[in-house]
């Protein structure tokens, strides 16, 4: 067996490396920027550094997502002792100019400069995304150089498992997958369950359309997830872990596979981690396109190679999970919080956010906004702050109409509730949910019944078919919405719609069916007049 990695030495070396180059150029190479041409820009910069003989002066570093996807490809230029500069829309030509004009001649490329002193960046508080745009996701040394794996080392060498669970419980961390279950309690349940084989599962089946924070963590900071899984496994006595990833995220799978391989070689995973008694085996499992697999019992079935069909709970997975063994499922974002909590302490974490909703939440801003991308904010900031200040408001001078959170399981929030703090409980009171953190903003042109129909079509397609309220109910709800949106609906249709929504919500087996009516109910609640306007007039319906 190779000797374990010396974290201290690697991190020292990384730090000195950082001071060796007067110029460091960090180029975002995440999915969004790549599809906007970041690859060519990177190549252009690489060749120009070579050509201009700047290899000893400037170091080019491919990084993960910097957040502001709508301005991509983004490049940050850091000059030792000087404030950093950000460039937007960097194509190949601009990339070459950055090297020749800015690095060689010390004249910034004015045309593409981006003033990053805006609320989009300054209002953020980064925990999960702290390494986004900073480290090179493919180099474990880069993660270690940013205090990576320090928490795992401390936890497994100096702490008892119960102490770790206690820290997580004290931090107040709640599950980031949507329901907000206290993470410490879940860990304690698994730790208390008997059994030789226990499993930890990281849920990266981010099916909610509009959310991509889990993808960003898995692609841009894979070692953070592995470290979080390691700590969770140690605290709960698990010896095997799975990361369940959507098949739609091939790059995440590739980077995780690679990260696992490297971590094993460095003795951060596998048998006798860092020469302790603790062993953990981590494997990646790829989904195959089924939204219902985000539900934990369906996810377990899928890992076992079967159809992703949920089952009744109890027994909860912490009693009977994978192959009947106790299993704990945590969302990727949840686990990504863990290393930082262990490093900085529960008190530090619970000082962020609000009472009962501690820490931060990552949101994917999308839709009709000036700035779209990923943001991480303390829990409890208002929707207005996110939409108007950070998102930069609605483009083309249009009016805000609704913010949709929680995807097909969530709801639409109207403008009068913009001052609501964003946390689990406030959003639930408004008939929506936090969900995994998709936040789609819609302007005045968007029709709410159409949106409700869109989500119902989604739930209808994705229903696994096990229980009839969901299987048949979603189809009937979709038919009713189809009637209403095509202008042949009647008052009775709306009454039927509302009634059936309640039936499906109250009688479905799993979360998919129970929440499928939410988009309809919340739009009916906040935008009822739009439904009414679509109905055939009373006279016509009597005729």
């Amino acid at each position: 067996m190779p000797a374990p990695i010396d974290l201290h030495e690697v991190s020292e070396r990384e730090l000195s490396e950082r001071y060796r180059f007067p110029w460091r150029i960090k180029a975002c190479m995440s999915t969004a920027c790549l599809s906007a041409g970041a690859g060519q820009a990177f190549e252009g910069m690489e060749q120009t550094i070579e050509k201009e003989d700047l290899a000893l002066e400037a170091r080019l570093i491919p990084t993960g997502c910097m957040g502001l996807c709508s301005r991509g490809p983004l490049v940050r230029v850091l000059r030792r002792g000087v404030e950093e500069v950000m460039y937007q829309a960097v194509n190949k030509e601009v990339g070459i100019d950055i090297i020749t004009d800015h690095v060689r001649d010390h004249k910034p490329v004015e045309t593409n400069l981006y003033d990053h002193d805006i609320p989009f960046f300054t209002s953020q508080e980064k925990i999960v995304l702290e390494n986004g745009g900073v480290i090179d996701p493919n180099r474990i040394e880069s993660y270690v150089g940013h205090r990576g794996y320090q928490a795992l080392e401390r936890v497994i060498t100096r702490m008892a498992p119960e102490e770790v669970v206690e820290v997580i419980r004290a931090s107040g961390l709640r599950g980031r997958g949507g329901a907000g279950y206290p993470v410490g309690s879940k860990w304690a349940l698994l730790a208390a369950s008997a059994g030789e084989d226990k499993f930890v599962v990281a849920n990266g089946d981010e099916g909610d359309p509009g959310a991509y924070m889990d993808r960003t963590v898995m692609e841009d900071d894979p070692h953070r997830l592995l470290e979080g899984i390691g700590i969770a496994a140690y605290a709960t006595g698990a010896t095997q872990a799975y990361i369940y990833v959507r098949a739609e995220y091939p790059r995440a799978v590739e980077r995780l596979d690679r990260a696992i391989r490297v971590a094993r070689r460095k003795r951060l995973l596998g048998r006798n981690i860092l020469d302790t008694e603790f062993s953990l085996d981590v494997n990646v499992r790829i989904g195959a396109g089924a939204f219902v697999c985000g539900e934990e019992t369906a996810l377990l079935a899928s890992i076992e190679g079967r159809r992703g069909i949920p089952r009744l709970r109890p027994p909860y997975p912490t009693e009977q999970g994978l192959w009947g063994a106790p299993t704990m499922i945590n969302n990727v974002e949840t686990l990504a919080n863990v290393p930082t909590i262990m490093r900085k302490g529960a008190d530090w974490f619970s000082s962020i956010g609000t009472e009962g909703n501690t820490g931060t939440k990552v949101f994917a801003l999308a839709g009709d906004l000036v700035n779209t991308g990923l943001i991480e904010v303390p829990m409890g900031v208002t929707l207005r702050h996110i939409v108007e200040d950070m998102g930069g408001g609605i483009p083309d001078g249009k009016a805000f109409k609704a913010a949709q959170t929680g995807g097909p399981s969530g709801g639409c929030i109207s403008s009068e509730f913009l001052d609501t703090p964003v946390d689990y409980d406030s959003l639930r009171n408004l008939g929506s949910i936090m969900g995994s953190g998709g936040l789609v903003v819609m302007d005045e042109d968007v029709s709410m019944p159409e949106i409700a129909k869109f989500f119902m079509e989604f739930s209808m397609d994705e229903s696994c078919g096990k229980c009839s309220p969901c299987r048949a109910g979603t189809v009937q709800l979709h038919t009713l919405l189809e009637r209403i949106t095509s202008g042949i609906g009647t008052r009775q249709d709306i009454r039927d719609l509302e009634h059936l929504c309640h039936v499906v919500r109250d009688t479905s087996l799993c979360g998919l069916g129970q929440t499928a009516p939410s988009p309809v109910l919340s739009t009916l609640h906040h935008f009822r007049s739009e439904y009414d306007d679509m109905l055939v007039s009373e006279e016509a319906s009597h005729a």
Binding site: T31, A32, E248, G305, R306, A366, Q404
Partner: protein
């Protein structure tokens, strides 16, 4: 399935020409040996088979059922349950329009409809001449770039019906395999 089970049959270690007459099955065999014929590797193996063959036909499903000692009904059930598995040969070019929330709000439905009309290909199907497969995806996670289309593996951002038609048109006109 409460206990983790493994099919006990081990085919020959080194397969020269595959007995089926299609040597691509050797790649499947190699993967199955690597995972020790664990039955829970079914979905992974289906992914691999689809990568190799382009789609899954009855022969392939039966082969996997036999190799993993699973009932064919279960293999068929799993394969048809998940959206990403396909049972028809794909066209020369593949166009996937994202119809996630952000893309929907920005008009992805229009794009799908126009492509479907102009190239005479049903959404989720392949044109009769086999030139184009049109699919929709529920969010590829690039919502900042909505609406998004993936044409032959290339992610194209901020599409309009016109730009999408141009892109697909150019790819199809170029002919051949993607």
């Amino acid at each position: 399935m409460t206990e983790r089970t493994t099919a006990s049959a081990r085919p020959r270690a080194e397969a020269a020409p595959h007995p089926s007459g299609d040597d691509r099955f050797n790649l499947i065999d190699k993967h199955l040996r690597r995972v020790h014929f664990a039955q829970d590797e079914l979905i992974e193996t289906l992914h691999l088979a689809q990568d190799i063959f382009g789609y899954l036909d009855d022969g392939i499903l039966l082969y996997l059922a036999h190799a993993l000692r699973l009932p064919p009904s279960m293999v068929y059930g799993v394969a048809t349950f998940y959206h990403l598995f396909t049972f028809e040969a794909p066209g020369d070019h593949a166009c996937t329009v994202c119809t996630g929330t952000a893309c929907f709000v920005k008009g992805a439905d229009d794009i799908v409809q126009r492509i479907s009309q102009d190239f005479d290909v049903p959404a989720g199907g392949t044109a009769e001449d086999g030139s184009l497969t049109l699919r929709t995806a529920r969010c590829i996670g690039s919502c900042g770039l909505a609406p998004v289309m993936v044409l032959d593996g290339q992610v194209l951002a901020h599409q309009t019906p016109e730009s999408a038609l141009d892109g697909v048109g150019a790819a199809v006109a170029a002919g051949g395999d993607a």
